[in-house]
Symmetry: C2
Subunit: 218 residues, 2 copies
DNA sequence: AAATATTTTTAGATTTGCCTAAAAAATATA
DNA sequence: TATATTTTTTAGGCAAATCTAAAAATATTT
């Protein structure tokens, strides 16, 4: 069994590792809101437990055990997010903090029963894939909205930033996870694009916004 | 906000207090599986936080704030137990440990939404009352099975011990929370009693067993 | 390449929650 | 009542997870 702190480190390493490049002490300190010195301490402990390989000054890489643990934590996190949004009527932008707590409840039986209860969802409310009990992830061919060509239809499946400013804007424009849209036009001048949702009048969104929206092609 | 350890102490004090008499260091050490010295340390801290009144060598009493906190924790615990049994199909005897973890997830909004989702249940799967969001408890006129007279009908609503031996026996005899029964006869010799479940043949249960079963009168 | 700046690690403290062993207080017994 | 027993507290320590400040390693500039 692992402590909450250990689990949080493993999860952070996994996410940074996924984002490419190798994971440095300072990156972890940043994403865990802690000091580099604390990170160094913990990395030594996690290496001793066989969850990651740690090379002084050079960075860190998860072992197979580490990856397995990370995926188990992410599975719990995303299942709970799904539960909170789909069953308890939370907004998809209010669930992160609560899921951060729930993900550390340790019971494989609970996780699996929750999964079955909800019909084994494959994606969480932010559009991120939910690993199965073996840690397998269904790869989603999702693409950035910016890359769509006029005429293509798609559904929003992920938002890569959670700032309240961005969420506010999505609320106003009635864009949410699952919203289906069609690209009408693309302006090379500022990379903005006209999109249409259902049969409402088309409207335009900026490059800055489109860049954070990922869609699943139909 | 309070730590998990603090919450567990407050909960333990509350339960011992409910059981009558004043709460001593050793009682707490027993029910928290810890050493008396640790209890003394924690009691000082909790007194400083205004959750209880602590008199050296004499015992401890919750303040209003302490009671409020205890009831909030118990509310979360019992709501989660209800969820685990009624929604996730756990047996009512397997949920305690998991609920011990879930009860420490801190979010009033979560608690309230969970409550609404399940239709604001008033009793958990063991028959214990669930405090409402203000900490009010619905008193249940439940009575020990031993006190029933022949001819009286009732439904099992609580089991006051969780030993696997007792649970095993209940399983064999097909007695569970909610089971309706009627008392057929009472033997003064050994205080055993004949009971009948539905229209099956009556059978007898010992005083030791009946003593741990509480029922709601019809 | 030397000097400067940044990143990372080490060393030494702190806090929380627990422990053991010994001292002090309360209770029971002779 | 004096003595023994039990309960509780104090004193001193330990492990986990964090911190600050200083030292060491690496990276960047000039």
């Amino acid at each position: 069994m692992f402590t909450t702190a250990e689990e949080n480190y493993i999860k952070a390493v996994y996410h940074l590792q996924q984002a490419g490049k190798n994971v440095l002490t300072n990156d972890l300190a940043g994403s865990l809101q802690t000091k580099p010195a604390s990170v160094t301490d913990m990395l030594k402990k996690l290496e001793a437990k066989g969850l990651l390989l740690y090379q002084k000054y050079y960075g860190v890489r998860l072992t197979n055990d580490g990856k397995k643990l990370a995926l188990a934590i992410i599975r719990r996190h995303r299942l709970w997010e799904y539960f909170l949004v789909e069953h308890l009527q939370f907004g998809w932008d209010e669930v992160h903090e609560i899921a951060e707590q729930l993900e550390h409840v340790k019971s494989d039986l609970l996780t699996d029963k929750l999964d079955v209860y909800m019909g084994s969802p494959k994606f969480d409310p932010h559009g991120d894939p939910i690993p199965d009990s073996k840690g397998r992830i269904e790869v989603q061919q999702q693409v950035c909205l910016l890359q769509l060509k006029p005429g293509q239809g798609a559904a929003i499946c992920a938002v890569t930033e959670q700032s309240s400013e961005l969420l506010e804007m999505l609320r106003m424009k009635q864009l949410q996870i699952g919203t289906r849209l069609e690209v009408k036009q693309h302006f090379n001048f500022d990379n903005s694009m006209e999109i249409q949702v259902r049969n409402q009048p088309p409207f335009s969104i900026s490059e800055q916004l489109a860049k954070h929206l990922f869609v699943k092609l139909k």
